[in-house]
Amino acid sequence: MVEDRVNRTGRSMLAGAKDVSPIILGIIPFGLVAGAAVIEAGLGLPEAIGMSLFVNAGASQIAATALFAEGAPLWVAIGTALVINARMLIYSASLAPILAPKATRRGKILLGHPLVDQAYAATMTQGRFRDDIDVVPYYVGSWAILASVWQIANIVGALAGSFVPPAWSLDFTVPLVFLAMLVPALKTHTDVEVALITAFAAALLVPVLPMQTGLLVAIVAGMAWGAMRHHDTELAQEGEAG
């Protein structure tokens, strides 16, 4: 068996990759949309690759690209994307006690980069409970397969996107892909309230606020509503925060 020959680290990485493989199909359309959005914004393949390779965070990539395409100032595109990625602070804080004690001082410097939604979910709900593998390579392995597929999907999206005629309204795939992600993210009553408040704020504010700041304001309003209405009892009903 292959399993006998590879060392424990390799086996742990494979276990991580295997646990995220059912969700890989789900990130392909998302990556295609992200890659195509960069082309639609008037940029090229290097920008599509740079964005997905370095930023490595889908929703924020698409949001920043769309805001850029609409002529938003750079600080608005960057600020909105960073607010979207602020959820990583929570992921990182909840993974820290699991990963940090097991990493070397130097390894810890890079340990944050593989933190993507699906790697977080797999490590929190599966990897950390297994004693036949090491959790750090498990986490890195789950990210490695996700990031590879993500990168390829972005490139294919960028290449294919340039051939799609505007009449197909390909830009509509952006709200659709987020809609598909939103529905499973609504786990509690408060989540639904947050979505409704944000939807109302976005519908009202995005067309009127200057410099495309409507999106940012709507997100912050929704978050504030959630924090205000948060019931600690809901924590019990939650699975992972992804």
Partner: protein, 109 residues
């Protein structure tokens, strides 16, 4: 500055910023716990951010800086919402939304 250069500024700043957001709690582990109110606020980023990314593009088309209600998009987004709730499937959601949009655009203009 060229559009390409401006976009690379976004890539670089977003890369550094996102790397810090992912890394700081791991680096600071054991030193400073995150304040509860920050945790509460961040808990609702996914619901708020994803909604904000759905709504304007489902309601409006932007023509020369003006937002106009787009009936075909509204109908298509509602259809996709129903499919998303029923199936929780990304591909089914996207296909149904796009097909309804194309039919809607053909009928409603």
């Amino acid at each position: 500055m060229s559009e390409t250069a401006r976009f690379w500024i976004i890539i670089v700043v977003l890369t550094v910023g996102t790397f810090l957001l992912r890394s700081l709690p791991i680096w600071l582990y054991g030193r400073t716990p995150m304040p509860t109110w920050v945790e509460r606020l961040l808990r609702y980023v996914p619901a708020a951010a994803l909604t904000a990314l759905v709504v304007p593009g489902s309601l409006y088309i932007k023509d020369a800086g003006i937002y106009e209600l787009a009936p075909a998009r509204i109908v298509a987004a509602l259809a996709a919402l129903v499919v998303a709730v029923r199936t929780k499937n990304v591909i089914a959601t996207m296909i149904s939304g796009m097909v309804v949009l194309w039919v809607g655009q053909a009928l409603l203009g």
